[in-house]
């Protein structure tokens, strides 16, 4: 019965953010028929919200800067479960990828020499941690993500990429060999359902910060790629690793860039004390984000929080002076005045650690090929399936991402995926056609939502889910508490599967999209919960009260969550560098 319309492409990219558009650009430039499926107009993607910059050793601020130092910082920042091969590739290739963006027109801020302006960010050092603070984050004022995303969209327009704007990918279509041969997608404006067939399907679907009640993430960050991959039976990696950004605006959740502290701002408690001096005597406010976030929560828990409820701390910027703030952090002034009703020129910004970034995701190799693990524990490439950007876990961030590395990740690996697919296409890709039954299998979830009768509202269920995740899987975690959280998720599952969709209309039906997004939020949340409960140690962003130490003997590895059995496995971390000997795990202090 699958009389569904089909569209065919050489490559389909799901997601119109930074990584998706970088991959698309590579493929469009090579002349392959490339489409981007994106649920919002591309420049509305969440990359637009990135502020502080893109970290890369382009040797502008310091002519002697080396990409190897950036590599060291990133490996240390990852708490040693970032794959060293991938980190080496990212840091070494980075400058080339940045210069390409500049040539494309990205309006970077400039130094007096006319080079790209770089600012200090957390976790950055010179000389492998021995040479003090580095300034390695390339910036376009505090609107780097906006500048980058618009530049990439413009590059794609120039190269005539096909955009399926305001289309929503529902599920993966797999053929008889378990290879990925496209997706089923809805044209949101008309409601039409289409099989978008492709020789290469790239998931660049971004993160899922909306599984938490308090997040810097846009409404659209609902883990669609992770949800689709899990429903197709593919595993996700290190999904327990969620970054809480130290400085989300208290109450609103909107992001205040780490660049504020890079430019000389610092955090204070209710006594006006610069408390990071106690927790990280060397790097202070520019320690790793996990370290700063935990320190803030401890200050609050120990009664030194600010405000009537003592539930936040302050970010002080006024000492930098109005001129510097206007020049370097104009967007922050706007955001703080709007959402915190505080003018940073005169008063501090109330901030609190806020869910920000999904370090885990779909496991891939450096070419963007998605991986699964066979029963002997070996990596297996999933034919036809690729991932990059926040949706992927390549893994360059391990247990804690450094600020400025997300934009570099999405540009470098969007590009790498595109280049690899281009090569594959040139050599010829032959995947079996999907049968009608294969396509119908990808319609099951959508049909269930479309046929829903009764059930509860998506908004109510979503709020419950977000509250559970916030309360049981936050900055500090504890086994018995997490088990309780998992029980609550189990109770919520049937209610979410049975979500109401009273409005069955076709034209721009956002209620349908939200019901589908809710399934992806739940799938991501459940994987997070099971992986977090399973990793019995503290590492990077994963801090357990009942296992306070890092356990390299048992957990110097990736976690891999298998959706069909809902169980957790392990996968080795890559310690093979091409250019030097590997960095051995050390105690991580700042």
């Amino acid at each position: 019965m699958a009389n569904i319309k089909t569209m065919s492409f050489d490559a389909v990219i799901v997601g119109g953010g930074g990584s998706g558009m970088r991959a698309a650009l590579q493929l469009a430039q090579s002349g392959y028929k490339t489409a981007v499926i994106t649920k919002v107009f591309p420049t509305r993607s969440h990359t637009v919200s990135a502020q502080g910059g893109i970290t890369c050793a382009i040797a502008s601020d310091d002519p002697n800067d080396q990409w190897q130092w950036h590599m060291y910082d990133t490996i240390k920042g990852s708490d040693y479960i970032g794959d060293q091969e991938a980190i080496e590739y990212m840091c070494q290739t980075g400058p080339e990828a940045i210069f390409e963006l500049e040539h494309m027109g990205l309006p970077f801020s400039r130094t007096e020499e006319g080079r790209i302006y770089q600012r200090p960010f957390g976790g950055q050092s010179k000389d492998f941690g021995n040479g003090g603070q580095a300034a390695r984050t390339c910036a376009a004022a505090d609107r780097t993500g906006h500048a980058l995303l618009h530049t990439l969209y413009q590059g794609n327009l120039k190269n005539e990429t096909t955009f399926l704007n305001e289309w929503y990918a529902v599920d993966i279509v797999k053929n008889a060999d378990n290879a990925v041969v496209g997706v089923v997608a809805i044209n949101i404006e008309t409601g039409e359902t289409v099989y978008v067939k492709s020789k290469a399907t790239v998931f660049a679907t971004g993160g899922a910060g909306r599984i938490y009640a308090s997040t810097t993430n846009a409404h659209i960050c609902t883990g669609d790629g992770v949800g689709m991959a899990l429903r197709a039976g593919f595993p996700v990696q290190d999904i327990e690793m969620w970054q809480f950004h130290p400085t989300g605006i208290h109450g609103a959740g909107t992001l205040v860039t780490e660049g504020c502290r890079g430019e000389g701002g610092y955090l204070i408690n209710k006594d006006g004390e610069r408390f990071m001096e106690r927790y990280a005597p060397n790097a202070k406010d520019l320690a790793g984000r996990d370290v700063v976030a935990r320190s803030m929560v401890l200050e609050i828990l120990e009664g030194r929080g600010c405000g009537p409820d003592g539930d936040h701390v302050y970010l002080k910027l006024d000492h930098l002076g109005e001129d510097t703030l206007n020049a370097k952090l104009p967007g922050i002034l706007e955001l703080s005045r709007t959402f915190a009703h505080a003018d940073p020129v005169k008063e501090p910004i109330p901030v609190v650690p806020t869910c920000h970034y999904m370090m885990g995701g779909i496991p891939t190799n450096v070419d963007g090929q998605a991986l699964t693990i066979d029963k002997d524990g070996n990596d297996q490439v999933i034919e036809g399936f690729y991932a990059c950007g926040e949706a992927a876990c390549v893994s360059v961030h391990g247990a804690n991402r450094l600020g400025g590395n997300s934009l570099l990740d999405l540009v470098v690996f969007g590009r790498a995926s595109g280049m690899f697919i281009e090569k594959q296409l040139r050599e010829g890709i032959n995947l079996k056609e999907a049968s009608e039954a294969d396509i119908e299998a990808a319609m099951v979830g959508l049909n269930r939502i479309n046929n829903s009768a009764g059930g509860e509202k998506a908004s109510v269920l979503r709020a419950e889910l977000q509250t559970i995740m916030q309360n049981y899987f936050g900055v500090f975690r504890r086994g018995d508490f997490m088990k309780e959280g998992i029980d609550k998720l189990n109770a919520l599952r049937p209610r979410i599967e049975n979500v109401a969709l009273e409005d069955k209309s076709n034209a721009f039906n956002t209620a349908r999209i939200e019901a589908l997004e809710l399934q992806n939020l739940f799938a991501t949340a459940e994987a997070t919960a099971i992986a977090a409960e399973g990793r019995t140690e503290s590492r990077g962003a994963h801090a357990r009260e009942d296992f306070q130490e890092r356990d390299d003997e048992n957990w110097l590895c990736h976690s891999v969550y298998f959706p069909e059995s809902k169980t957790l496995g392990k996968r080795g971390v890559n310690f093979t560098l091409k250019t030097r000997e590997a960095f051995e795990p050390k105690i991580r202090t700042y």
Binding site: R44, F108, G114, R115, H146, L157, A218, S459, S505
Partner: protein
């Protein structure tokens, strides 16, 4: 209770649009207009609008708020409510798809017309192209555009000629590339704009400046383009 009146139109159900009245308990808080829309959507999931970043950088939720175009996510009720009443309509002048969602094709087509990308056919250096801070400063107030369409849909000239007049947003971007020291296609860009409609339909009404949620000034950019056109003609 706040009185909220919202433009409704579902093409599959309604023969014509209508205004629907709601009462919203804001608990006296000065929340954003988007918060009100979100709250109403939890009660009536059919209410349709675009939103993404909720912090004024993605440009999804441009709507007409009590008569003035703006972004719902950064417009507080204190700026938008008049006599305890909030009126929300789609941005004017473009076709409505459903409720507050408009068809922006014409707006995007005008953006694409100005070749919104860097053109520099000189061989690229091994590092970045150098640009002084002074040259870079010329892009401030231009590159920050978020394509929300608040300006173009507030412009009577764009209402009249949405197919021929580029409109304030597209022209702001046209000037962003004309002003960039790294772009070498000035003559070609000016030639593309040199007709009675693309630029010269701007009559300096300045509605664009008044509504831009990012505080940008398209009229000024259009003035610069006019001067460049006049100079290149002489």
């Amino acid at each position: 209770m706040l009185n909220v009146s919202i433009y409704r139109y579902n093409p599959e159900v309604d023969s014509e649009p209508y205004m629907q009245d709601f009462k919203v308990d804001t608990q006296g808080k000065d929340v954003m207009v988007l918060d009100v829309l979100e709250k109403l959507k939890t009660e009536d999931p059919t209410l349709t609008f675009r939103r993404s970043c909720r912090e004024g950088v993605c440009g999804s939720d441009g709507v007409n708020i009590s008569g003035k175009n703006g972004l719902a996510c950064i417009t507080p009720l204190s700026e938008a409510v008049k006599g305890n009443k909030l009126v929300i309509r789609p941005l004017p002048g473009l076709p409505v798809i459903r409720d507050l969602v408009i068809d922006m094709s014409q707006f995007y087509a005008q953006y694409e017309k100005i070749q919104p990308y860097m053109i520099n056919n000189n061989p690229a250096p091994a590092i970045e192209r150098l640009q002084s801070p002074e040259e870079r400063a010329k892009l401030d107030g231009l590159y920050e555009c978020i394509l929300c369409a608040c300006c173009s849909t507030a412009c009577p000239s764009f209402w009249w000629n949405p197919d021929k007049f580029i409109g304030p947003s597209g022209l702001l971007q046209a000037y962003r590339f004309l002003a960039d020291s790294r772009d070498t296609a000035t003559e070609e860009r000016l030639a593309n704009l040199d007709d009675p409609f693309s630029v010269f339909r701007c009559h300096g009404i300045m509605n664009c400046v008044q509504v831009c949620p990012k505080g940008l000034n398209p009229t000024k950019a259009i003035g610069h383009i006019r001067s460049m056109l006049i100079r290149s003609a002489t």
